[in-house]
Amino acid sequence: MNYNTTVLLIIIPILSSFLVYMPVGLIKKSFKIIFLATILFNLLFSLKIFSVVLKYGNLITIIGNYHPPFGINLVSSFFSILFLIALYIVFLISAIIFIFKNDTKNNQQKISSVLLLYLASFSEIILTGDLFNLFVFFEIFSISNIIIISLKNEKFSLKGSIKYLLISSIGSALLLFAIGYIYAILGTLNLAEIALNFEKISFFSKCFIIFFLMGSILSELEVFPFNLWISDSYAGAKNFVNILLSGISCVVSLYIFIRMFFTIFNYPSISLYSYNFPLDIKLLLLTFFSLSIIVNQLVALTSKNIKRILAFSSAATISTILFALTSGTKSGFSSAILLIISTIISKPLLFLSSHQITKGKMEKNLDSFKNGINRKRYFSILFIVSAIFFTGFPLTPAFFGKLMLFYTYASKLNYYTYFIIVIIFSITVEFFYYFRMIHKLFIKDETERENKNIKNNLSISYFVSGLTMISILIIFFIFPNIYEKVITKMSEEIFNQKEYIQTILKLGEK
């Protein structure tokens, strides 16, 4: 296999995104096939790359024969390619729902073009080894996010997307600022080379870079004071968009966070200390993320709209993952990975099933869940199972994740142990509102019997995608050994910054 074919993962979606948009009669008829075929190609090809990575280690793609640290290069490591596969699966499910839906028929061609751009952009973000490239595709990513949020022509969705537009543009400005600064002092934009030289730069520059890079992804990470867009965006967006936002958008930004903090800054052994500004970055981040966890959980607790509850619960989970990552230890990292696994699968399923349960109701609030178990038995069961998986039923990935999180912070009594109370609070609140929703499903609704005539047809696309995700969940439940190896390998890779630098820059020496 040619090492440089990895780039097809990005090029083919971009090409077909333009192709799909063309107003030619033939394409108008067959754009669905092109759309799905592209996604399938990406999924299958990434699996192929994964097998190669397993055999030979990291794959480095060099574009235009400019060896790193010059030019654009893609790095497909075990960590990144596995992330990509998981995201492709979620994307495929969401795409199937989108394609077989009736109410988006008019502009389906245009939207599928946007979705393909979205696919290309997050593939590039995850694979890239170059900071500027990351910035460019991050922009495309945010723009496609804005478009798909505003698809539903409602007050909410427009408001949400404008909020997102403004926040993400400020974020990109901060990112660009940081990139400019890095280029000014280090003269390179290659991630490996930045990582190599990061320790040598001055204290002030380090802090400057960290704050600005962090500030740029905070809005995508749904951390509290920066997440004011999610309230309207999630509630106003279409169902497949909710799946994309909760299953992909925040996970991609989590990936960026991990790459920046662990690969570039070498966070576990970062030393940010000077006599003038003794910065305890761990404490700063912990305070920040704890606040975010508390606020997001409280909003989820008091909201009535189903989509809002799920959105804020997802935001709280992302903050919990960040909280785990902040420890900078292997156990914290593995906890984060386990929670990410649980989020990627069960959150989209929660959105999907809740959408089906509340279908046909005027207001999508808690009361529309009543009697769900009799109205929509299949989706209610999906909802219950995914909620239980998400909250951390014993022996699920989320349970092990929380176990590792407790180990990370509670095993040694120190200043940071007090933050474990935040996690206990968060878990309690989360259990409360998820179980309240499940409880609503079993409540018998007396008024329901009158309008029994509503058609209760089961849409095949929802059925199949729900079945796929639930079977993945159950496989994870029955065979926990699957993620056992994954975690070990991922943490080995992430905590070995030197190897990452070596594999990339050695190529440049030749």
Binding site: N227, L228, L298, L301, L338, L395, T428, P480, N481
Partner: protein, 628 residues
């Protein structure tokens, strides 16, 4: 074998889900059968402490997360009596749940609960213990409130308390794990003891995190309100399980951890504060038990709902058990374990008879009932024996264990604790008699004239419970010998028992002689009754109206039934001491909701506000960094 049992339980629970509503008795028969199987296996395995099983699950970063099971004398004893009582309750449930709504859901989660019950008591490591602990919390949520609006608030008290306590416990476990590198209970307990010598701060953190769980699960003050909520609103047959068994889990874990610790400190009291020859911490716990029992007794006297009354009685009993346990004498510990078993038996009897009354009358308010004794004789007899046992009157089982508790407390010189227990024990007479009077004696309301005794299948567990109460009361040696093996495993001196004669440091009783004396006096009274003058059955209304027609006075039987505000004057005495603990928790909930509501409105604010917030918070972070 244990893992197989748990595994088949899960399969059966799913199978039972698919039984059609028409044949739902089949579902409950599968359920009973499984519990019987568990009981059978528990007895056949025996209390052989060498039995051991491991199931490898997963290991993350050298974390060995495997399920280990071992049979210890304590775990075996708890498994035996809980499974026996669950089996009796399940027989009751077959008929009871015939027309119950949501019985499918109740069955499924109850199944999970029973599986976890076995797993919890036989767990050999803390990880396994925690898993089953969580499972019990989650599954009992849906048994208490299977889509019922009425019990939703009640279940949340229980659920939130239990989640908080289980995760506090978990953080304690993690500190222990850091020291030992294993989850094994034995090693961790030893490490826990040594931690008190080496790093007291860590040890106190662990102790507090574990004791919070104990306080919550055992409903000690200030968490004493959840049983009255949850037990009262749960399905009637499940209330007996909640009250008899689920409330004991915290106790089990405490015996595992704290008894070895306190006994060690008692023996080597260097660098520790000792009060009355026991550690200060243990003393405080003993007093918290006593306070709980007094508070719960007063609350039980006040309550008018019969299930609430029984729930508060449970809390009071947990108070006695706690006090006895932390008096740390061998008689106290044995008495506590014995009373745990006895309480489970008579409380199951009380709740089942209440469930039987409710099954026929659909009424829980006591003042609306009355005169059920003639209509439901078996239920009446069960209830009568159960409250005699609960009040600690010989010759039933409650007497023996309460006697042991008093002996334990007095022999280790705790006069005030004994007084407190005695006070609440006297209170128990008041509320239990009131329940007996209001439900079974007095006037039968006219609408219940056609009430019949419950079906025979529901009577069977009642007969067995009556038999158990009487036989343990007469021959306590069978249970005490089992408890002695538990005491031996903790290196505590055994209870001196010869046949039915128990010797305490202060005195001794022979329960057979006590039984004979009581039976003799009953027979004497019966003979007097037989040889007395010929009798005529007089209706109470006849005497009330002095021979005139009651209809002239508009007098109905309900009016004559004196049950509402039974202890009104007595309650009035304590008006100025009354505080509402429930209101306290409700106010916390309201405040959390208020804060959440503020943030919710803030989140869906205007677009301009969003931008300002973003910029401002970014600047604030940087300022925060400067100030730090």
């Amino acid at each position: 074998m244990i893992i197989g049992l748990l595994f088949y339980g899960i399969i059966l629970s799913f199978l039972a889900l698919f039984v059609r509503k028409k044949y739902n008795f089949l579902r409950w028969i599968i359920f009973s059968f499984y519990i019987f199987l568990t009981l059978f296996l528990t007895i056949t395995i025996g209390k052989d402490s060498t039995y051991f099983e491991t199931f490898n699950l997963i290991s993350i970063l050298n974390f060995d997360l495997s399920l280990n099971f071992r049979i210890t004398p304590l775990g075996w004893l708890f498994t035996l009596f809980t499974t026996l009582l669950l089996f009796l309750t399940s027989i009751f449930s077959i008929v009871k749940n015939k027309n119950e709504d949501a019985e499918r859901l109740i069955n499924f989660f109850w199944f999970i609960l029973i599986i976890s019950n076995t797993g919890l008591f036989l767990a050999d490591d803390l990880f396994t213990l925690f898993i089953f602990w969580e499972l019990i919390g989650i599954s009992s949520y849906f048994v208490i409130s299977p889509g019922w609006v009425s019990s939703f608030r009640a279940v949340n008290y229980y659920f939130i308390f239990s989640i908080i306590c289980s995760f506090f416990m978990f953080s304690g476990i993690m500190i222990l794990y850091e020291g030992t590198g294993t989850f094994s209970i034995q090693k961790n307990v030893l490490y826990f003891i040594s931690l008190f010598e080496n790093s007291p701060l860590n040890a106190i953190f662990v102790a507090i995190s574990l004791i919070i769980g104990f306080f919550v699960k055992s409903a000690l003050f200030p968490f004493h309100i959840w049983p009255a909520q949850a037990h009262a609103k749960a399905p009637d047959d499940f209330s007996s399980v909640l009250s008899g068994i689920i409330i004991k889990y915290g106790l089990y874990r405490t015996i595992l951890f704290f008894i070895p610790l306190f006994l060690f400190i008692k023996e080597y009291p260097v660098n520790h504060i000792m009060v009355n020859n026991i550690p200060l911490f243990s003393h405080i716990l003993a007093w918290s038990g006593a306070i709980t029992s007094i508070i719960a007794t007063f609350l039980a006297i006040e309550s008018n709902d019969m299930k609430k009354l029984a729930a508060y009685s449970t809390v009071a009993n947990m108070g006695y058990i706690t006090t006895a346990l932390f008096s740390l004498s061998s008689f106290g510990i044995a008495g506590a374990i014995f009373h745990t078993i006895n309480h489970a038996i008579f409380k199951t009897a009380i709740f089942l008879s209440i469930a039987a009354v409710k099954y026929r009358t659909h009424e829980t308010q006591m003042h609306k009932l009355g005169g059920m004794a003639y209509k439901m004789p078996v239920t009446f007899l069960t209830f009568l024996l159960a409250i005699i046992s609960a009040a600690g009157i010989p010759p039933l089982n409650g007497y023996v264990s309460k006697w042991m508790i008093y002996q334990g407390l007095l022999s280790s010189k705790f006069p005030f604790l004994t007084l407190a227990i005695f006070l609440s024990s006297t209170g128990a007479f008041m509320y239990l008699f009131r329940a007996l009077h209001s439900i079974f004696l007095g006037q039968l309301p006219e609408k219940f004239d056609n009430v019949k005794e419950v079906p025979f299948l529901m009577q069977i567990p009642m007969y067995i419970l009556m038999f158990l109460m009487v036989s343990i009361g007469i021959f306590p040696q069978f249970v005490i010998n089992l408890i002695n093996s538990v005491l031996t495993s903790y290196n505590i001196s055994n209870i001196n028992i010869k046949n039915s004669m128990i010797f305490s440091p202060l005195s001794g009783i022979d329960s057979v002689k006590v039984f004979l004396a009581f039976t003799g006096s009953f027979i004497l009274a019966f003979i007097l009754y037989l040889i007395g003058k010929p009798r005529k059955h007089v209706q109470p209304l006849d005497t009330y109206t002095a021979g005139q027609d009651p209809a002239d006075f508009n007098l109905t039987r309900e009016l004559y039934h004196f049950a509402y505000k039974f202890y009104g004057p007595f309650e009035h005495m304590f008006d100025s001491f009354r505080t509402d603990t429930k209101e306290f928790y409700d106010s916390i909930e309201r405040k959390i909701n208020e804060i959440g509501g503020y943030f919710r409105d803030f989140q869906s604010g205007s677009i301009r506000g969003t931008i300002y917030t973003f910029m401002l918070s970014f600047v604030l972070i940087i300022i925060y960094w400067w100030l730090l």
